[in-house]
C-alpha cells in the first residue's frame, strides 16, 4: 500500500515496520543490534532506540526500512492501532522464558489480522535463545501457531547476535513481494495510498484483564 506509493520509477521501497511485544522481551536490544550492531553497549551513539532506519539493497532494489518501536506496557495496549496503521510489516517479539509474553503476541496477531487483514507481513520472534535452559515456550507450539496464522517464526538472540539479520532480510523480501502483488493488481497503485490514512479509531474491543498490569517492568 503506502510502500509502492513513494517511487515506482526508481524502485525504491519504503517500508514501515512496527515492533510489538511486552515490556521486557528485548525489542530495543533487537533493533539496536540490527541497526548499530551493539548490545548493552556504553558506546551506543544514538540518543534513542524508538525510531530507527536502515537502508538495504536487496537484489538490486533499494529498500528504506523505518522501524517503529511501540510502548509495550499493558496500559498502552489500546494505542496499538495508532502505531500500526499503514505499516507494511510487524515484528511480534516474545521472550522464550516468559509464557505470558507469548500470550500477548497471540493477542496482537488477532488484533492485527482483524484491523489490517493480510496486507501486513507478520514475524513472530522468540528472543533470548541464549537462555535456552530456562525456556518456557516450546518451539513446536510457537512454530505451529505461527503457521496457523500465516506468520513466520524466528528464533533470535540479541545478546549473541543470532538470527536477527536473517529475520529482517526475510521480512523485507516478503514485504517487497506483497508490494509488487499489490502494484500489479492496482495497475499503478499510487493514487490509493492516501485513502487508508484516515479514520483509524481506537477500539477497546476486548476488556483487558487488569491483572497483568505489573509485569517485570513495573518498577521502571
Amino acid at each position: 500500500m503506502a510502500a509502492a506509493g513513494a517511487t515506482t520509477a526508481h524502485r525504491t521501497y519504503s517500508f514501515k515496520v512496527v515492533l510489538l511485544g511486552e515490556g521486557c522481551v528485548g525489542k530495543t536490544s533487537l533493533v539496536l543490534r540490527y541497526c548499530e550492531n551493539k548490545f548493552n553497549d556504553k558506546h551506543i551513539t544514538t540518543l534513542q532506540a524508538s525510531f530507527l532506519t536502515k537502508k538495504l539493497n536487496i537484489t538490486g532494489k533499494r529498500v528504506n526500512l523505518a522501524i517503529w518501536d511501540t510502548a509495550g506496557q499493558e496500559r498502552f495496549h489500546a494505542l496499538g492501532p495508532i502505531y500500526y496503521r499503514d505499516s507494511n510489516g510487524a515484528i511480534l517479539v516474545y521472550d522464550i522464558t516468559d509464557e505470558d509474553s507469548f500470550q500477548k503476541v497471540k493477542n496482537w496477531v488477532k488484533e492485527l489480522r482483524k484491523m489490517l487483514g493480510n496486507e501486513i507481513c507478520l514475524c513472530i520472534v522468540g528472543n533470548k535463545i541464549d537462555l535456552e535452559k530456562e525456556r518456557h515456550v516450546s518451539v513446536e507450539e510457537a512454530e505451529a501457531y505461527a503457521e496457523s496464522v500465516g506468520a513466520k517464526h524466528y528464533h533470535t538472540s540479541a545478546k549473541l547476535n543470532k538470527g536477527i539479520e536473517e529475520m529482517f532480510l526475510d521480512l523485507c523480501k516478503r514485504m517487497m513481494e506483497t508490494a509488487q502483488v499489490e502494484e500489479r493488481s492496482k495497475g499503478n497503485g499510487t493514487s490509493h495510498a492516501s485513502t487508508g490514512r484516515r479514520g483509524v479509531q481506537i477500539i477497546d474491543d476486548e476488556p483487558q484483564a487488569a491483572t497483568a498490569a505489573g509485569g517485570c517492568c513495573s518498577s521502571g
Binding site: A6, G23, T53, R75, F76, R197
Partner: protein, 536 residues
C-alpha cells in the same frame, strides 16, 4: 560657567518649552508640545476613541453583512452539527478579526508605521511575559527547585499564577498583532517561494499551479474539513507525480520542492483551514484542555516516567520540551509544527538519556511524552493535530521520523483522553478522589499532600515538607527584602530632605537673581534701542 553658556545659547521663550497643557513640566516637539505624561493621556484617549469607533463601524458592517446573508441564504439552514453556543463563539471571533482589519484601514497613515510597530512590540512583550508566567507556573508545579531561581518571576507574575490561563490562550490566538503579522508573513513566504523556484527549470509552472490552487481554494470555503483536506492531498499527489514523471526529478529533489510548495500554500490557506467552523475541533480543544487541567495531580511516579528531575540537565530538557510543544501552535506550516514536535521529542530523549544512561526505547518515551503534554497543556492541541493530519504532506507523516513522533503525540493525547485508575495503577477510589479534588488549582496545593499520605501512595512526603519549608523561607526573605527596600526608600527620602534643608536659601537666591543685576558694566552700555515710527 553655566550662566555664561546659558546666555550665549539660542533664546527661546520659557513658556514655549513648557507643556501645552500647562501642567508645569517641559514639553517636547515630538509629542506635539506636550509633556510625556500629558502626551500619554492624550494618546490613550485618542486610541480609545479610535477603537470605539472602529468597533461601531465593524458592528455595523457585520450587521449589514448578516442581513445580506440572511436574505440570500434565508432558506438554507445552518449546519445542524454545530451547537449554537459554538456558533456564537465563532461569530465573536470573526467579529474581532474584522475589527482589526477595519482598524487597519481607518487608522491615519502618518501614525500607522511607528505606532503600530510600538503596539506590536508591546503586544509581543506582553505575550512573552504571559508565557513566562505560565512557564513559572509549570515549573512550580513540577518541582520546587526552580522556585528560588524564579524568585523574580514569582514576584512580578504572582497574579497570573492564580488565574486560569485559558483566557490568555484565547486572547493570544486572536490577538490583533497575530492577524496583522499574517499579511507580512504571507508576503515573505511568497517571495521566498519565488526565489526558491528561480533556480528550478519547472519553477514557473510550479508557481503558477500553486497560486491557482490557492485561489481555487478560496472559492471552496463552504466545504467540510475532510473535503478541503482531500483537495490539498490531491494537489500534493498530483504535483509530486508530475514532478517525478514530467520533469524527471530525483525523489530527494521532488521532496525538497514539495516542502516548499507545502510551505507556500499552507501559509496562505492557514487562516481559512485551521480549526474551520465546519468541524468541532474547537470544542475538542476545550475538552482536552479541561481534561488536562483536571489531571494536574498526576505525578511522574504514577506514569513511571524514567526521568529524574533532580538532575539539573534533565530538568532543563523537560522545560525545553514543554516550551517546544507549546510553540507548535504558533507555526503555520504543518511541517514546522512537526519540527516543533520533533524538537520536543529530542529534548525528551535527552532527559531520559541523562537519567538512564542508555538510549530511550518507546517504553520510556511515550510515558515521558504524556507527562510533558500534561505539564505543558499545549494550546489548541486537537486543532493542531487535526490540521497536521489533514494538510501535511503524507509521505512525511507516514514513514519519516517526524511522523513517528507525531504518532506518539497522537497516542499521548488518546491516552490522556481515556486515562483511568487502571492506567495509573491507582485504585478506583483514589482516582475518583483525585479527580474530584482536582477542580480548583489554587487550593489543592496544601490539600493534596495530606490526601496522598492518607492513600499511602508512594509520594515523597519529605520532599513536600522540604518544599514547604523552602517556600516559607522564600516568603520570609521576600518580606525582609521588602522591609529593606522600605527602609532604603525612607533613608533616601530623609537624606534628600536633609540636603534640601541645608541649602534652601541658596536655591532661592539664585532664582531671585536677575541676569542683569550682577552685571556692573550694564551702566556703561547705551540705552536700549526703541522702535521708532517713521511717517510715510
Amino acid at each position: 560657567m553655566s550662566q555664561r553658556s546659558e546666555r550665549r545659547g539660542i533664546h527661546v521663550d520659557q513658556s514655549e518649552l513648557l507643556c501645552k497643557k500647562g501642567c508645569g513640566y517641559y514639553g517636547n516637539a515630538a509629542w506635539q508640545g506636550l509633556c510625556s505624561k500629558c502626551w500619554r493621556e492624550e494618546y490613550q484617549r485618542a486610541r480609545q476613541k479610535q477603537i470605539q469607533e472602529d468597533w461601531e463601524l465593524a458592528e455595523k458592517l457585520q450587521r449589514e453583512e448578516d442581513a445580506a446573508y440572511a436574505s440570500s441564504h434565508g432558506s438554507q439552514p445552518q449546519p445542524s452539527l454545530t451547537p449554537f453556543s459554538k456558533f456564537e463563539e465563532k461569530k465573536t471571533n470573526e467579529k474581532t478579526r474584522k475589527v482589526t482589519t477595519v482598524k487597519k484601514f481607518f487608522s491615519p497613515s502618518s501614525r500607522s508605521t511607528t505606532k503600530k510597530e510600538k503596539e506590536r512590540n508591546e503586544e509581543r512583550e506582553r505575550e512573552r511575559e504571559r508565557e513566562r508566567g505560565e512557564k513559572v507556573q509549570g515549573r512550580r508545579e513540577s518541582h520546587g527547585e526552580m522556585l528560588l531561581r524564579d524568585l523574580k518571576g514569582i514576584f512580578t507574575h504572582s497574579w497570573e499564577i492564580g488565574s486560569p490561563t485559558e483566557e490568555s490562550h484565547e486572547a493570544k490566538s486572536h490577538s490583533p498583532s497575530f492577524v496583522r503579522q499574517s499579511s507580512v508573513e504571507t508576503d515573505q513566504v511568497a517571495r521566498e517561494f519565488v526565489d526558491f523556484l528561480k533556480s528550478l527549470k519547472p519553477g514557473r509552472e510550479i508557481h503558477k499551479q500553486s497560486r491557482a490552487f490557492v485561489e481555487s481554494m478560496g472559492n471552496k470555503k463552504d466545504l467540510g474539513a475532510d473535503e478541503l483536506s482531500e483537495c490539498v492531498q490531491d494537489f500534493y499527489q498530483h504535483m509530486s507525480d508530475r514532478l517525478l514523471t514530467h520533469f524527471k526529478g530525483s525523489s530527494e529533489k521532488v521532496e525538497r520542492v514539495m516542502d516548499q510548495v507545502e510551505k507556500y500554500i499552507m501559509t496562505r490557506l492557514y487562516k481559512s483551514v485551521f480549526c474551520p467552523e465546519t468541524t468541532d475541533d474547537e470544542k475538542k480543544d476545550l475538552t482536552t484542555q479541561h481534561r488536562i487541567r483536571a489531571l494536574h495531580w498526576v505525578t511522574i511516579q504514577m506514569l513511571c516516567v524514567p526521568v529524574d528531575e533532580e538532575i539539573p540537565e534533565a530538568a532543563d530538557s523537560v522545560v525545553k520540551a514543554i516550551t517546544d510543544v507549546i510553540e507548535m501552535d504558533s507555526k503555520r506550516v504543518p511541517r514546522d509544527k512537526l519540527a516543533c514536535i520533533t524538537s520536543c521529542s529530542k529534548h525528551i530523549f535527552n532527559a531520559i538519556k541523562v537519567t538512564k544512561k542508555e538510549p530511550a526505547s518507546a517504553d520510556d518515551f511515550l510515558p515521558t511524552l504524556i507527562y510533558i503534554v500534561l505539564k505543558a497543556n499545549p494550546p489548541r492541541l486537537q486543532s493542531n493535530i487535526q490540521y497536521i493530519t489533514r494538510f501535511c504532506n503524507p509521505s512525511r507523516l507516514m514513514s519519516g521520523e517526524d511522523g513517528y513522533y507525531f504518532t506518539n503525540l497522537c497516542c499521548a493525547v488518546a491516552f490522556i483522553e481515556k486515562l483511568d485508575a487502571h492506567s495509573l495503577n491507582l485504585s478506583v477510589e483514589d482516582f475518583e478522589r483525585h479527580m474530584c479534588g482536582g477542580g480548583d488549582g489554587g487550593g489543592s496545593g496544601d490539600v493534596s499532600p495530606r490526601r496522598r499520605s492518607e492513600s499511602s501512595s508512594p509520594w515523597p512526603l519529605e520532599l513536600l515538607s522540604a518544599l514547604q519549608e523552602r517556600q516559607q523561607q522564600v516568603l520570609e526573605e521576600a518580606r525582609d527584602l521588602q522591609d529593606e527596600l522600605q527602609l532604603w526608600q525612607e533613608g533616601v527620602a530623609r537624606e534628600v530632605q536633609n540636603i534640601l534643608d541645608k541649602y534652601p536659601l541658596e536655591i532661592k537666591r539664585h532664582a531671585a537673581h536677575t541676569i542683569d543685576s550682577e552685571n556692573e558694566e550694564n551702566d556703561r552700555l547705551p540705552p536700549p534701542l526703541q522702535p521708532q515710527v517713521f511717517a510715510g
